[in-house]
Symmetry: C2
Subunit: 394 residues, 2 copies
């Protein structure tokens, strides 16, 4: 075997039992496919690209497995009952959910809770069965607080991101300069070439690049999700943002910014500002569970401003985005570090101040941290230097 990946986390459905009690509801239903991260959390099943139904009723978690996937569903689902297609009369997942509710004697006019993004056709089947649909955000709320097993998955995929970053940084450190043009082993260095290097490392590590890898160069750094192919020159900011997905569905998120042969003052000032701003965020997070999310952002932005950069979502330059977001089975999930909430222990967020100026470039550094009872643990261990150096990273 090539590796021992973190074991698959399980899901404790007690939060659904509590939500049903509190809302005086008879059941919870969701329908979604492998790309629906709530469904992934509820089922731990990496199913097909077509919908399948999950039902929580009478203290039992039920999965209606899609055809050809029964075996995998039985292997992955931590719940109580897996129905194969042959076990049910209905074919449409929404209709299968109705059949399950019926089997558990959930009657018309009883309340059934569903996530807001339940597919419309499933809602129509449930409506047609006469139950009262009401929406719940209990799944998103439960997902916010990670178990130790989930944190282990996040730590593992972040470590893979670090090894991919080391490859990119080493590539830049080894670059040869011809005028301002950078080459590596005789070939012109471009954003696409760096992206492919990073992604090949990630794939070789057994994690999925997830079509997320961003490599911005100079002015394209300000385009926060740039995926084009442009040449890399000396003196330009090279912003590398890696968000791979591990085998159990958890994302890493790591950003560093490098400049080969930096001469200008802007990027050095920007890089110092985002380092100090990230430190300011860490100072707030040192308080641990209970810290106000919005305070983390406010203090981070204040530090960026102290270095003379604009801040604010409407600004044309400077720190134009929030300080961070939750990461888990979704790359972007609750909470945002601008939300008016207190961070609970087990919350995993990015800390990613950045400053951008279309005429100068863009600089961002991003770590992934987990809030603990009395502080936080940085799941990231990677240098923040602006000048690229050859790295071996384990």
């Amino acid at each position: 075997m090539v590796s021992s990946p973190a074991p698959a986390p399980t899901t404790d459905y007690a939060f659904l039992a509590a939500e049903l009690r509190e809302r005086d509801a008879a059941a919870f239903v969701h329908v979604g496919d492998r790309f629906d991260d709530d469904q992934r959390y509820l089922t731990r099943f990496s199913g097909p690209d077509r919908d399948y139904a999950y039902v929580y009723v009478d203290g039992e978690a039920v999965l209606c497995a899609p055809a050809l996937f029964e075996e995998q569903a039985r292997r992955e689902f931590p719940g109580d009952v897996v129905y194969a297609p042959a076990d049910l009369d209905a074919e449409a997942p929404g209709q299968q959910a109705v059949e399950v509710l019926d089997a558990y004697d959930v009657g018309a006019d009883e309340t059934v809770l569903v996530p807001q993004h339940l597919p419309h056709d499933a809602a129509l089947y449930l409506d047609g069965a006469g139950v009262d649909l009401a929406s719940t955000d209990a799944v998103a709320a439960a997902r916010t607080t990670k178990s130790d097993a989930e944190v282990d998955c996040l730590r593992a995929v972040q470590a893979s991101a670090q090894r991919a970053m080391a490859r990119v940084e080493t590539f830049l450190a080894e670059a040869e300069q011809d005028g301002t043009a950078l080459t590596h082993e005789g070939e012109r260095l471009t954003s696409e070439r760096l992206r492919r290097e990073a992604n090949a490392v990630l794939a070789g590590e057994g994690v999925d690049p997830a079509a997320n890898t961003v490599v911005g160069v100079g002015e394209t750094c300000a385009d926060l999700h740039f995926r084009g192919d442009v040449p890399v020159d000396a003196g330009e900011t090279v912003l590398v943002d890696l968000s791979p997905r591990g085998p159990h569905g958890y994302y890493g998120d790591l950003t560093r910014t490098f400049v080969v042969d930096a001469e200008g003052g802007w990027e050095r000032r920007a890089h110092l500002a985002v380092q100090r701003a990230q430190d300011a965020a860490f100072d707030e997070l040192d308080a641990g569970a209970g810290v106000a999310a919005s305070l983390v952002h406010t203090e981070t932005a204040a530090e960026v401003a102290a270095y003379g950069f604009d801040t604010g979502y409407d600004a044309d330059t400077g720190f134009t985005h929030e300080t961070g977001h939750g990461v888990g089975l979704s790359l972007h999930e609750s909470p945002s570090l601008s939300d008016d909430v207190e961070l609970a222990a087990g919350t995993v967020v990015t800390v990613e101040p950045g400053v951008y100026d279309p005429t100068e470039g863009g600089v961002r550094i991003e770590d992934l941290v987990v809030v603990t009872e009395d502080g936080f643990e940085n799941l990231t261990d990677y240098p923040r230097s602006l000048v690229p150096e050859p790295r071996e990273w384990v």
Copy 2:
């Protein structure tokens, strides 16, 4: 620049205009995120992992760009109008769609068409605005027939899959044998190691492995979506199924099965059966546009049966699945080769007969083809040999 990928396909919205006329509807609305392939087709926008709204009304295609993604939306969207968040009062995408409908004077009681899987909350906003919601499968239907630009994308990603397959086949051809155990450069060969090799090639090609790579070994081949890590021995079937996603969102799909030092009769007979069965499918597809999808499957299954294997979705062994499925912006999309439909020119489907026996192993070969007016073009060009050979593939 490292490559010249196929140019981004565009979307001709004439099919929506025709659908609105036919259904006497005022507008079409969809809400979805980057993982919603209908939304990708409608917008050509590889947006974030949160929902955004698309509206087609009065002959104009409108995208409500999510925050931080306006620039990318304007670059990628082939439609008429992009609203930034600041242009709209509403924040929720479903509510933004209502605001757009209002701006275009779509009144209460007019019909608005939506896909079946529109998120429930968006349906509630539209319901609340008083319009009559009716579902349409026009988007899925339009996606079935590929333009030349779309076929170019599919051909390009399939070529990357072939180069990844060549790496895996070469790896197996180079394997050293110690008893029945296979090693490569001194390390035990396992399914996970082969999967990582394939995925690293794909990532290095600039396409996304898309967490789809399946490597089954012996009995795990019958588990159609096996992703575990098991050692590879001589004499065992090694089933490699690659379904990477290209930069514009189109999937490839390629399967080959190899046996190092094959001795048994079962895998040779199975491999011959699936080759002849694939040829039988090609014979039917030679008729070109108008051929009945279900006839392709029937003839393929008949050939498998002629070699003494069971067929049928309920069978425990033999050919237990359909012959193929549509491929495009979704890995599995309409049509299935068991559907009661005639295949139109421009339809892209897999042709993938397989036979499985938990006590023997599993053998499948899969090509990707496009139906033309007077035949079909195989988008795949890769040998079908059971015995692995070193390959260089361009």
